[in-house]
Symmetry: C2
Subunit: 404 residues, 2 copies
Amino acid sequence: MSSVTEKFRKLGIDHAPGQEALQQKGSSVLIGEKLEGTPVDFSHGDVDAFEPLPGSLDSFVKGYKAGGRQAYTEYRGKEKIREDLAEKLSAFTGSQMNAKENIIITPGTQGALFLAMGSLIGSGDKVAIVEPDYFANRKLVEFFDGQLVPISMDYEGKNDRAGLDLEALEKAFADGVKLFLFSNPNNPTGVIYSEKEITKIADLAKKYGAALIVDELYSRQIFDHRNYTHLCAMAERPDNMVTIIGPSKTESLSGFRLGAAFGNKDIILRMEKLQAIVSLRAAGYSQAVLEQWFCEPEGFMDERILAHQKIRDDLIERLTKAQGVSARKTEGGSYLFVKLPPLTVEIGEFCKAVRELAGVTVTPGTEFGPQFTSHFRINFSQDAKAAGEAIDRLLLIMERYRSR
Amino acid sequence: MSSVTEKFRKLGIDHAPGQEALQQKGSSVLIGEKLEGTPVDFSHGDVDAFEPLPGSLDSFVKGYKAGGRQAYTEYRGKEKIREDLAEKLSAFTGSQMNAKENIIITPGTQGALFLAMGSLIGSGDKVAIVEPDYFANRKLVEFFDGQLVPISMDYEGKNDRAGLDLEALEKAFADGVKLFLFSNPNNPTGVIYSEKEITKIADLAKKYGAALIVDELYSRQIFDHRNYTHLCAMAERPDNMVTIIGPSKTESLSGFRLGAAFGNKDIILRMEKLQAIVSLRAAGYSQAVLEQWFCEPEGFMDERILAHQKIRDDLIERLTKAQGVSARKTEGGSYLFVKLPPLTVEIGEFCKAVRELAGVTVTPGTEFGPQFTSHFRINFSQDAKAAGEAIDRLLLIMERYRSR
């Protein structure tokens, strides 16, 4: 088999969030009748329930009307917008950056992740990722012919730290890992790394000369007034790192495809070189929408965060009433990673059955690490009432598949 | 040097169209005073001179207002839009396609090209490209660790064919080339492949089992009522091929970042898998704009094509008055590839000097093949008057650098 055939054989999307409509029907073992109710797609947030930032469409229209100078920006994004963004991201993270050298605007945070990984992974390079973590991380390492080194995160039952296995991380660095990538808050568990953990990660990366990609996509949505530590602001951070972030989640701007990466200028330059052959630039008119980001109306973000926190609490209450179901309480972001009791079918089959029988779409845990065979992930940025009812239906279906 | 460092060392963008603003000033040998006049950036079309398709902003706003179902489409693009597009592209090209399997919506035609190349090139695979052809082709082959096999196109002085070296192409296939990629109309020369050339390319690819990527980005802008042959509509075409196209050029929709690829379903599926980790999807709201494509008001495209044809004729007249300057008359698309007499500086230096002294940005020929050291490319989709004056200034500067 040629190298490219083998590569794409591994690169699956059937169970990826948002692709469920393409799955073939009738392949799963369906038990019982369908349950009526409003369909809920927990694979991603519902931008109808939490609408895009106010003013975002107006900014787009303004960008469109600005004409050619907005349509054709530098590959790394329009300079004026990078300047504005550099100021806002510096203030948010407490780190220093130069608009000319240290920042690139990307087509979504996914775009930032792809460019960063493509800029740092050479064929055969060892790359450490967390398990569980965002499902694309693993795929990207494989696509760029890197060698995957999973670091486990024992997140269950803790409240004061993520639970990353720091000894395993040090061993990985000592064994030649050149890049460590992690999301904070973690996707899919919603846990936040403690200041101690972040400090240790920064120290280790520096000690062993490894590069870091820190995915802070959900870092503006922190619950219960918890502390959040930006690795990029640590005094002892490694120089060879980038942070990625974007307005697709809490801010609901996913339909514009906007993201950003900031950090080491050599990495940013590589990312721009790659962007030039990948898709030239984030859509020019969309870039204009970034003026709304970090400039939300007074109280807007607080209100949005509180609304999500309430949905979280409601869903956890419903879920944990069921025997054998557990989930660590989300600390940041809109994900819940739910552990189920033993079932009579595999998790992928169960997710298909829930979709067909209850109109509820969830993502199998195995997308986040092969060992999560009893888990599913939901994005609870949804209409609160519909989400609660959907979880109740899911639990009714679960009882049909419970191992006795 | 690690494989990724080496890869990015080669992946340059300093001379790439649109990036000139990032070049350091003062490095070039400047002769004489600056010339006054409206600055013209010939590195890409001017969407202020030729505005986006009427209705495109309205379609975007409609897409935005449709909410979540438009923001989060399948990675290959929203099904309803693919259905509409499949019908329109079938009618335009005279080929058959199934909206479910044979088409993907991409972030620009650059996005389509990247995904197609990434889906077909394995490490070490031999890939044939044309010289001259679009500068990113070479970079993509190198990025995916392919082995570049250039096929020369002796385009000068012909009128009835592009001038591709078909014997060299057959030899390349016989020597194991697995993929052949070419643009038609050709970028940068604007020449069109004859029906004979297209038939032969199709036959050869089929005979040797090679894949084809046909870049038809400019195929809607054909001058002088010339014939244009879509390879995808040939009876004897190979099955293993995709055609790429998009509304960024003649239709001036570049600021929305939209493109499409259609063809073999296995290639399209791979492209979607890759899109899932590259940037998820073409911006959801932007996808809605595709309803305007191929649905232009009566006479709109004819008028736009004629306007470009007039600019072409004016610029060729100005250029060829100068001794030793030549260019084959553009047959399709908005590019002119201009050959200069011997100069006292290298072409890259000359282009920098023209930019600094005359406010005129052109792309050095060496971006399209290392042998084009006496050439530059312009995109003449510009304000007609400003373009004519800019070419006059460029020629005045050229005289300062002419070898005696």
